[in-house]
């Protein structure tokens, strides 16, 4: 039944007469993005979101053929790569997009950190963002095992071993994640469940909150721009200017993904044999390498406590503090320059980059 008392005279009438969302439309019409020398960094959140959309679509397509059992997982991925039409493309895009998404997420996180976007009133955008980063890493970790090849099996085994070093609950956590004492078919099924059900649900819920907060609060302007004398920075309409530029970025990303998938297709590898010894130089995916390399430098015991336990606890504490940085950086909250946290941010980036390079070079030797 047509609502005759609507105020809307927008086209298409049949829609707006039924759904009075004029207010929302006006909001998006007025939505503007600040233009300044750091505007380029605003695109990274959207790029990460675009890559997640690619993951969702290619993931659903892979789900049509993938079988999450120890016996069939590898064969099903092999089937996708060799027999399914464009299966090789979907799988390679999914793998490359996963890596690009993690990279984009890290850059987005560090750019918002260095631009102090976490300061009041955007504290919870930062916290939801940190959780989104952890979930993205969990996606990468759980997805890595699913092809059930040699590298992914042994990589998962090595990576999950560190969990046991957490005091008190370490062993229970290890058994929970592995579905048993060792990495097995139970681990595969479990990781599959996390990867296609639990993590997408969590990510979607957090993403909605994260995006909602960005819409309601608008884009943060860095203190260095805000404190400049003179008029306030110019703005550009979100629709159509910013969204078209976003789309341009997404198009370039899509082109890059197509090139990577076609020229450097993702390897199938060799089927995992749990009874074989681990291949020499086994290491986790690149985004965990800096943690892996740090563990290698920690001595076996520190003041008669397990070095590994101290390292894992330190990583956890650093992660928690990182998520809580809006409540720690008081100066930024007051709109003042906060060089200490800028240095911490640059230091963290340098540490991660250097340790990752060192780990890559060490394994090549």
């Amino acid at each position: 039944m047509i609502m005759e008392n609507t105020k809307s005279n927008r086209k298409p009438y049949w829609f707006f007469s039924r759904y009075p969302i004029d207010g929302l439309v006006e909001f998006f019409k007025r939505k503007a993005v600040p233009i300044h020398r750091h505007t380029i960094w605003y695109y990274l959140g959207g790029t990460t979101l675009f890559l997640f959309a690619i993951q969702a679509v290619t993931g659903i397509l892979l789900l049509l053929y993938y079988r999450p059992t120890e016996e069939a997982a590898f064969a099903s991925v092999q089937f996708i790569m060799t027999k399914v039409r464009f299966g090789w493309l979907i799988r390679s895009v999914h793998s490359w997009s996963a890596n690009l998404m993690v990279l984009s997420c890290f850059i987005h996180m560090f750019s918002t950190f260095l631009l102090k976007a976490y300061r009041s009133p955007r504290e919870f955008s930062w916290i939801t963002g940190s959780l989104l980063l952890f979930i993205t890493l969990a996606f990468g970790f759980s997805g890595y095992l699913l092809p059930w090849n040699e590298i992914s099996y042994f990589g998962t085994r090595v990576a999950t071993e560190s969990i046991a070093s957490i005091p008190v609950i370490g062993h229970y956590l290890l058994v929970f994640f592995r579905g048993g004492e060792d990495v097995s078919g139970a681990t595969l099924t479990r990781f599959f469940g996390f990867h296609v059900a639990v993590l997408p649900l969590l990510l979607t819920m957090l993403l909605i909150v994260h995006l909602l907060m960005v819409q309601v609060q608008g884009m943060s302007v860095p203190p260095s721009v805000e404190s400049q004398p003179g008029p306030r920075p110019k703005t550009s309409p979100f629709f159509p200017n910013f969204i078209l530029k976003d789309a341009l970025g997404w198009l370039i990303t899509l082109g890059l993904l197509a090139m990577l998938a076609a020229l450097y297709p993702w390897e199938l590898g060799v089927k995992a044999d749990p009874f074989a010894p681990a291949p020499a130089g086994i290491k986790p995916e690149w985004y965990f390498l800096f943690l892996f390399q740090t563990l290698k430098y920690i001595p076996a015991t520190i003041f008669s406590l397990s070095g590994e336990m101290i390292a894992v606890m330190t990583f956890s504490v650093v992660g928690i503090l990182w998520a809580l940085v809006p409540f720690i950086d008081r100066r930024a909250n007051r709109g003042l320059k906060s060089p200490v946290f800028t240095i911490i941010g640059i230091g963290a980036i340098a540490y991660i980059v250097i340790m990752t390079i060192v780990a890559c070079m060490a394994s090549k030797q």
Binding site: Q78, M81, T82, W88, S92, S236, P237, P240, N241, L244, K245, A247, L248, L251, I252, L254, G255, A258, M259, A262, L263, Y264, P265, L268
Partner: protein, 419 residues
């Protein structure tokens, strides 16, 4: 008092008898460990000796009365009237050991399935025959097994453990001065070390490879005679023996007195086989006997042709598949096909021993079908690579065009906005 003395004698005797039957408290050991050089070395080696581990003592082999020697009276212990045999002469060593080792009733106590025909075998061997003629230089039991510190043949440190046997035989057989009077080659060990068997056993530790005793025998060591070489090789290479014995070469070689397998493969320096051994080129084994235009020459050429054809097709397929794999196309299934083709190639090389082109062709034609299938799949994989590259170019053109249009639109909108 007399009763007390008797009790004491009884106690002392019991302790001595009991003590003398426990290893380490033997009066032979007690005395000989205080001596120097060769007289004390048997005691030092007792810990590793299988006889001592099974509860036997010095007297078990050498006789005598160790109990009598408990009070330090060596002469009483080494009393010939008490059965003391001393160190046996070289010519007597086999019979010395055979007193127990040829006695099945006795040996059954220690290991029911142990062989007890060593002496009988030894007496048929070249070593045994020469020993019987008074030659003291030949190997006797102790030359290989040692006199004391005799380890089980299953012990990797034993001189007769399979990986150690070539070196043990080589101690004499590679010594040109020692072997001068026998006028036989002394290069067997060196040749064997470079052979496919030697590399397998000595470098790779593969226990399936033969050592000297597998072909020549253990105790009845004698080179295999000309007519039985194929039977000896056939112990492991059974399929080749069956093919060879039904082939025309079997009768021909027998008539000509040729040493069967050795004629083409050598004896000690058996190298890894090569397709160059077959065919009509100057380096092949076939042209050594078969003249041009002879039936054998034609068979050699025909067999070589079909095997080479299969090998070449497999190599071509492998090259294409490797290219495709490097370019990112998955070729897992085709790898199974090429593997089967390769297995047929290996089989056909073995079937060469039938010296029948028709027999070889049965397997090569099967392998060729598979190799051609793999070649076809390899070509398709490369076509797929090209197709992907073409599609990529098209997609990139579309993406570039769309990006350019988008960029122009954005510029237009920005200009309008500024205006």
């Amino acid at each position: 008092m007399m009763k007390l003395n008797r009790i004491w004698v009884f106690v002392v005797l019991s302790v001595s008898i009991f003590g003398s039957s426990v290893y380490g408290e033997d009066s032979c050991v007690q005395c000989h460990k205080t001596l120097d050089g060769a007289l004390s070395s048997p005691v030092n080696e007792l810990a590793n000796d299988i006889h001592a581990q099974r509860g036997l003592s010095c007297a078990s082999c050498h006789g005598g009365d160790p109990v009598a020697g408990l009070n330090g009276d060596a002469q009483a212990a080494m009393n010939t009237k008490k059965g003391y045999l001393g160190v046996p002469a070289t010519k007597d060593i086999p019979k010395f050991c055979a007193r127990c080792h040829s006695d099945e009733t006795y040996m059954r106590k220690y290991r029911p399935n142990i062989a007890t025909d060593q002496l009988a075998q030894y007496q048929t061997s070249q070593h045994g025959k020469l020993l019987g003629k008074g030659d003291k230089k030949v190997a006797t039991c102790v030359s290989c097994h040692r006199a004391h510190g005799i380890r089980s043949a299953k012990d990797p440190l034993s001189a007769v453990y399979p990986t150690n046997i070539p070196k043990t035989c080589g101690r004499c057989h590679s010594d040109s001065k020692y072997m001068e009077e026998y006028k036989i080659p002394v290069d067997q060990f060196n040749k064997y070390r470079q052979s496919v068997h030697g590399i397998a056993l000595l470098e790779k530790g593969s226990r399936s490879a033969p050592a000297c005793n597998n072909c020549h025998g253990n105790h009845g060591a004698f080179p295999p005679e000309v007519s039985s070489i194929s039977q000896v090789c056939g112990v492991c290479h059974l399929h080749n023996l069956e093919l060879f014995s039904k082939s025309p070469h079997s009768r021909a070689f027998k008539q000509m007195g040729l040493p069967e397998c050795e004629s083409c493969h050598g004896n000690h320096e058996i190298k890894k086989t090569d397709d160059a051994m077959l065919g009509t080129e100057s380096k092949s084994n076939c042209v050594g006997c078969h003249d041009q235009d002879s039936p054998g020459y034609k068979v050699a050429a025909a067999m070589k042709k079909i095997i080479l054809q299969l090998r070449t097709t497999i190599e071509q397929a492998n090259t294409l598949l490797a290219q495709a794999e490097r370019a990112g196309v998955e070729i897992g299934d085709t790898k199974f096909v090429i593997n089967d083709a390769y297995n047929d190639l290996v089989k056909s090389r073995s079937i060469v021993h039938s010296f029948s082109t028709a027999e070889v062709e049965k397997t090569t034609s099967q392998g060729l079908k598979l190799a051609e299938q793999a070649l076809k799949e390899g070509k398709e994989a490369l076509k797929e690579v090209q197709a992907r590259r073409r599609w990529l170019v098209m997609v990139m053109v579309i993406v570039f065009a769309a990006a350019t249009l988008l960029y122009l639109k954005i510029r237009e909108i920005e200009k309008k906005g500024q205006a």
